[in-house]
Each structure stands twice: as structure tokens, then as C-alpha cells.
């Protein structure tokens, strides 16, 4: 039974405020900075401290009231049956509707360069999310170094294109193959590892790749990165204002938007390919082996599934899609440096996959839209952005630890297909 007395709420809020006061006393109450002579000086900010403590006090009262208001009523009671039906209906048609909308984005927002760029960014993350989903969502191998494959793809394309002058369409498969090769290379040592050991080794692997990219100056350009990466051509026709450019050939007036629109459709096609391959693979023996591996590794062995092959193919497939996305990233930016491939990126992609409900393709897409869109919304806040991102991650995990789309249908079933709540299955065991 919850205590609803105001005294209780006040006591709790005061306690929170007290904790906040101690926590922030030095970190916010005082501000340090190097003074004119290089020595550190400090000044006080007790006003800010008081404001924050007051916010914590007020906030915990509100949270406590909300908890008592919502708490006793079950979540099921809050959602009436008709709404549930409506949600089911929406759920069924959301995927096709989103796809239709995605195809029409360049038509609707043709004049809004910002939205087009943002859409390309979102789709890049959708693709990365779907790629990582193969490793984490399907095979249940927790990978914290996914950005390494993204980096391998990007640098493969950048180096091949700038050194040998190969075109994007030749480099794209090469980048995918190289990334897949690195995926297998990472896969071998981690075959025997499970769970958190796997997580830390993949994290270490990601860091190793980044550090090598920074320090191997002759090869990768070091912290300065690689610039002047060629833009993709429309199947051989450059998207430039030249006479043999895309616009001139097709009798159109030249506009830089053409290239953006083209890039948009390229990444859309690549993302859809990832999705399609994943869906198809899930129905093949290898995909089923992945799902079985996720649910129970020991049972898998007992059933004679080749664990080595299963894990390696999962790593290789996921890495390959990461490599594709990386090559696309390099050609879109025209410039890459190791700064784009930090752990934060891995965490962001992993957050997208987990928020998406792990294994749900639509969920991953929605999560990518929400995450990157949210990120853009807070762009103006600049240095507060990562702070907000951190809070969002923590709050979303507390609110919906199973992700936004918490249901998914098993691909193999006996007699009758039933959607099961993902609460019933465990994953990320590695």
C-alpha cells in the first residue's frame, strides 16, 4: 500500500533535495577555470546551485505524485480495448506507410536541403541499426565495437578511391567485403567468450581500430583524416554542372539538390537491401540458427548446430552492412577522420537497436528516427546535447527496457503463429 500522506512526499522530496545539494555543492556551486596566469581560480555560483536544488525538490514531488496517481492502476487498464485495436491496426500498416513516406521525402521536401540531409543521416543510422540488429538482435551477441566496421568501410572506400581512383560502385562491395573480413577476424577470438566478456572485447576492438587510424599517419592521414573523397556518380555520369554532367545529359537545369536526392535514394536502397536480406536470412537455416543461438547456446550445441559458423556468419553479415554504411558515409561527407568513429557512435547504434526492441526491424527504424531526430532537435543546445542524450537513454531504459516495440513474431512456430511478448525470451547472452 502506498503512503499518500503529504508529509511522506515532502520528506522524500527534501531528502532528494539534500542529496542534490551535496552532489552539486562543489561541482555546480563553484566554477573553476584557468586564470590569466595559467593558475586555476574559482568563483561561486550559489544562485545556480539553489535553482538546481529547487528543481530537484519540485521534480521529486511531481514524480512522487505521478507515481501515486498512475501506480495502483495497471498499465492494461489505461489502454482501452478500442485503442488497443487501433494500435494493432496502425502497427500493421505503419511499416508500408513509413516506406511510402520515405520514398516521397525528396519529392515533398525538395527545396528543404536541411530536411533532406537529416533524412539521409537518419537512413544511415537505420541501416547501421539493421546491420547491428543481425549481431545483437538475432544472434544475441553483444557488440560494443560496431563502429569499427563502419570505420573500416569508410576508410576502405576513401583509400581505394583516393589512391587508385576506383569508383564508388566498385568500392562499395569491396568495402563490405573488407568489413566482413574484419568481422570474421574479430569473431575468431571471441568465439569462446560470453556475455560481458564479449562486450568488452568488442569495445576494445573498436578502440584499437580507432587508435590505429589516429596513429598510422602515413596510411590513414592520422587525426587529420582523409579529405577530397570522390562523390558518387549516377552510374558513371557525374552529378556536376559540367557539360557531360547529370543535369546537362538529361536536359535539366543544374542544381546541387540533385546529388542530395540521389544520395538519399542510394542510402534508402541500401537500407532496404539490408532489411530485405535480414528478413530473408531469418527464414534460412542460418537465420534460424542465429535465433536459436540467442535463446540458448547450450541447447544449440546439443542440437548439432555449428556454433563457430553461426557466430562468425553473424559477425560477418553485421560487419558487412556496417562497411556498406561506412562507404556511403565517406562518399556523402567527402571527408572522414577518426573523430567520427568514437565509442559514442557504437553506443548510439546499440541504443537504437535495443530501443527498437531487438530483432524488430520496424522498431529499429522507428528508434533511429526518434534518436537522430531527437538529437537534431537538441542541436541548438550544443554542449547540453549529450547530457540530454544520456538522460534519454536512462529514462527510456527505465520506462521501456524492452524497447519501443516490445513484441515480435517468431519465425518458426508449431501449428499456429502467435506474437510473444519479448519479456518471455532472453537475449544478449552471447
Amino acid at each position: 500500500m502506498l503512503d499518500t500522506k503529504p508529509a511522506f512526499i515532502l520528506k522524500k522530496a527534501s531528502l532528494s533535495a539534500l542529496v542534490a545539494l551535496v552532489l552539486f555543492s562543489l561541482m555546480i556551486g563553484l566554477r573553476t577555470e584557468a586564470g590569466p596566469e595559467g593558475k586555476l581560480i574559482y568563483w561561486t555560483r550559489f544562485g545556480d546551485l539553489a535553482t538546481i536544488v529547487a528543481i530537484v525538490f519540485g521534480g521529486s514531488i511531481v514524480i512522487e505524485l505521478l507515481r501515486q496517481w498512475i501506480g495502483p492502476v495497471g498499465a492494461a487498464a489505461l489502454v482501452p480495448a478500442w485503442l488497443q485495436k487501433l494500435m494493432d491496426f496502425v502497427g500493421r500498416w505503419l511499416g508500408p506507410a513509413l516506406l511510402g513516406f520515405a520514398i516521397l521525402v525528396p519529392v515533398i521536401f525538395y527545396d528543404q536541403r536541411y530536411i533532406l540531409d537529416l533524412a539521409i543521416l537518419v537512413l544511415t543510422y537505420v541501416m547501421l541499426g539493421w546491420g547491428l540488429n543481425v549481431v545483437v538482435g538475432l544472434a544475441g551477441l553483444l557488440d560494443l565495437g560496431y563502429v569499427a566496421f563502419y570505420a573500416v568501410g569508410a576508410y576502405s572506400y576513401a583509400l581505394l578511391a583516393t589512391t587508385f581512383g576506383l569508383s564508388f560502385w566498385i568500392c562499395l562491395p569491396l568495402a563490405g567485403i573488407l568489413a566482413a573480413f574484419w568481422g570474421v577476424l574479430l569473431g575468431f577470438p571471441v568465439l569462446r567468450l560470453r556475455g560481458d566478456y564479449l562486450a568488452i572485447v568488442t569495445l576494445a576492438f573498436g578502440e584499437i581500430i580507432r587508435l590505429v587510424l589516429i596513429n598510422w599517419q602515413d596510411f590513414t592521414g592520422g587525426p587529420n583524416g582523409i579529405s577530397g573523397i570522390p562523390r558518387p556518380s549516377f552510374f558513371g555520369i557525374p552529378l556536376t554542372a559540367d557539360e557531360d554532367g547529370f543535369a546537362a545529359r538529361f536536359g535539366l537545369e543544374f542544381s546541387p539538390t540533385h546529388r542530395v536526392v540521389f544520395l538519399f535514394y542510394v542510402i534508402l536502397a541500401m537500407a532496404l537491401l539490408t532489411n530485405w536480406v535480414t528478413i530473408r536470412l531469418r527464414r534460412l537455416p542460418i537465420g534460424r540458427a542465429w535465433e536459436a543461438l540467442r535463446e540458448d547456446e547450450v541447447a544449440c550445441r546439443a542440437l548439432g548446430i555449428n556454433i563457430t559458423a553461426t557466430k562468425l556468419t553473424a559477425f560477418a553479415t553485421g560487419a558487412m552492412f556496417g562497411g556498406f554504411a561506412g562507404a556511403f558515409f565517406a562518399t556523402r561527407q567527402g571527408f572522414i577522420s577518426p573523430e567520427s568513429f568514437t565509442f559514442q557512435e557504437s553506443a548510439l547504434v546499440l541504443a537504437i537497436v535495443v530501443l527498437g526492441g531487438m530483432g524488430s526491424q520496424l522498431g529499429v527504424a522507428l528508434a533511429a528516427v526518434a534518436m537522430i531526430g531527437g538529437f537534431e532537435l537538441f542541436r541548438g543546445l550544443d554542449q547540453y546535447r549529450m547530457l540530454v542524450f544520456g538522460f534519454a537513454m536512462v529514462l527510456l531504459m527505465i520506462w521501456r527496457p524492452r524497447g519501443l516495440v516490445g513484441h515480435r513474431a517468431p519465425t518458426v512456430f508449431l501449428k499456429q503463429s502467435r506474437a510473444i511478448s519479448s519479456d518471455l525470451v532472453k537475449e544478449g547472452h552471447g
Binding site: Y197, E207, L211, A347, L387, G428
Partner: protein, 305 residues
């Protein structure tokens, strides 16, 4: 030989700092079974609080070095411990019975929150402080003019670490709290049935881990003379590497792993290349895990079906 001895000393000092952080990881892993990703940032917060309290003490006109150090240590440990408690309370406790990826992601989020909080609250620039503990001893005068030095600060770091480790081993093996912690580690449900307050014990684990991280943060500040908001990430990964290397869940293992990582890093920088020292540390982690998947002192995990 002199050069080698000098690097050995440097490596042991660095290893002590890593070991102190690694203990926090290994304890939390042992009891809750999760990687506390935010622990590296707790270490960073500890360094910041030590730095700020140092400035305040100096501005009050305090000059007695032992008093300054003691007050810095206590303030830093107390406030950072509260950070550890708060992080557990907000981000991990609601997720304790959730599926295992959830607390991990929540921890990654918390790590972003802490490092960016420090950046927003105290600015992005490096904070240097003047050396507090100065002087040292020349252990051996080399023929080529290279002397083996042991500075006082190095002595302080190693002695503090050893004292804390002894205190901590006593706490875990001899006290009521330590017994509760070990009980929760083995079986939380059974421990709860036998009257152990599981929530409180887990909170204590986080508090102790954070306090040790604060000590490490302060030692880092004293040793390198600076703190910045980003230092928690790399130090955190290395300390976690140390914990895994030593066998996660094992306290002596964490210290041993910390020393190993510190030595590897120092020797690699001294004899090969400074740029690749982190690559060396991580590569050795991978190599060790291939041949010893449970680390140096870890117990092999029993697979239950």
C-alpha cells in the same frame, strides 16, 4: 637496467591507480552481474572534487600539506560515494530484474550524463593544479647519468593503495557488511530470505566502489597534476580491462590486473611507441581472454541449463 627499474616503478604506480578503479568494477560485477559503465566517470568526478576542494582549501590560506591532503581525500571520497549511491538508485535499481542489456545501456547513458555534466558544470578545458607533494629520492645513480628516481608522490600513491586494499580485504572478509556482500553475490534470493537487506548491501557496494574510485581520481590528480572531463572514459575502459584480465569478480585479481595493465602500458611506451600503448593494453586483453577466458584469477563459470 636502471631504465628498466625506473619503468617498473612508474608502471607500478600507474597500475595502482588502475587497480583502485578496477576494484569498483569487479565488486559491482560480482554482486549485480552488470558492467557499471559509469564507473570510469565516477573516477573522473572524484578527481574533479579533489581538485575543487584543493582550490578552496588553498584560498582559505591553509598551507599544511598533510591536512590539505586528508581533507581533500575525505571530501572527495564522501561526495563521490554519494554520486555512486545516486547513480545506482536512479539508473540501476529500477532495472535490477530487467533483462541484462537494459542496465548496461542505462549505465552507458549514465556515463554520458556524468562526463557531460562535468563538462557543462566546469568547462571543457584541462584543469591543472600546482604540485602538492614534491621531492623524491634517488635510488640508484646510473653510470650514464640516468638516475632511478622514486618521487614522494609515487610513494604516497602506492602506500595509499596498499593500505586501502588491506582495509578493504578486511572489510569484505571479516565484517558483517562483507559477509552480506558475499552472500548477495552467491544468491540474492537466499540472502534476502536469511535476513540480508539486499538493496542496502548493493547500495553499499556502489558506495564503496565509488569511494575507491574517488581515491584513484585524487591520486591521478596528484600524480599528473591535472583533471579533465574526458579522462574517465579511457581510464574506465583500462580499469575494466584490468578487472577482466584479473578475473572479474575477484578482488586480488582486480589489483593484479591493474598492475599488469599499468606495467604493460608503461613498458610499451618506454620500449616501443607511446602512441600504441593503449592498443597494446587492449590487444593483451584480447590475447589473454582467448587463452584464459575467465581471466587470471577468475573461477570458471559453470554453465547451468
Amino acid at each position: 637496467m636502471d631504465y628498466f627499474a625506473q619503468q617498473l616503478i612508474n608502471g607500478l604506480v600507474l597500475g595502482s591507480i588502475y587497480g583502485l578503479i578496477a576494484i569498483g568494477y569487479t565488486m559491482v560485477y560480482g554482486i549485480v552481474g552488470m558492467i557499471n559503465f559509469a564507473h570510469g566517470d565516477i573516477f573522473m568526478i572524484g578527481g574533479f572534487i579533489a581538485m575543487i576542494s584543493f582550490l578552496v582549501l588553498i584560498s582559505f590560506g591553509l598551507t599544511a600539506v598533510p591536512v590539505i591532503l586528508l581533507v581533500m581525500l575525505l571530501v572527495s571520497m564522501a561526495i563521490t560515494a554519494l554520486y555512486g549511491w545516486t547513480v545506482e538508485r536512479i539508473a540501476y535499481r529500477p532495472l535490477r530484474h530487467s533483462f541484462r542489456l537494459a542496465p548496461m545501456l542505462s549505465a552507458i547513458g549514465m556515463s554520458f550524463i556524468l562526463s557531460n555534466f562535468a563538462q557543462v558544470a566546469q568547462g571543457a578545458r584541462v584543469k591543472p593544479i600546482p604540485p602538492i607533494i614534491t621531492g623524491g629520492h634517488t635510488l640508484h645513480e646510473g653510470a650514464t647519468g640516468f638516475n632511478v628516481q622514486l618521487s614522494n608522490i609515487q610513494i604516497v600513491v602506492v602506500v595509499t593503495t596498499m593500505v586501502l586494499l588491506a582495509l578493504f580485504t578486511w572489510l569484505v572478509s571479516r565484517t558483517r557488511l562483507g559477509r552480506d556482500m558475499r552472500a548477495c553475490e552467491q544468491d540474492q534470493t537466499m540472502a534476502a530470505l536469511l535476513g540480508v537487506d539486499v538493496d542496502r548491501t548493493i547500495s553499499f557496494t556502489f558506495v564503496i566502489g565509488a569511494a575507491l574510485a574517488a581515491v584513484a581520481g585524487m591520486m591521478y590528480l596528484l600524480y599528473y597534476g591535472l583533471v579533465d572531463f574526458f579522462m574517465g572514459f579511457v581510464a574506465g575502459i583500462k580499469a575494466f580491462t584490468a578487472a577482466v584480465l584479473g578475473g572479474i569478480g575477484s578482488l586480488p585479481g582486480a589489483m593484479l590486473g591493474g598492475l599488469a595493465i599499468g606495467l604493460i602500458e608503461t613498458f610499451w611506451s618506454a620500449y616501443f611507441s607511446v602512441e600504441y600503448k593503449d592498443v597494446a593494453a587492449f590487444s593483451i586483453l584480447i590475447v589473454v581472454l582467448i587463452f584464459l577466458p575467465t581471466g587470471l584469477l577468475g573461477r570458471p563459470e559453470v554453465e547451468k541449463v
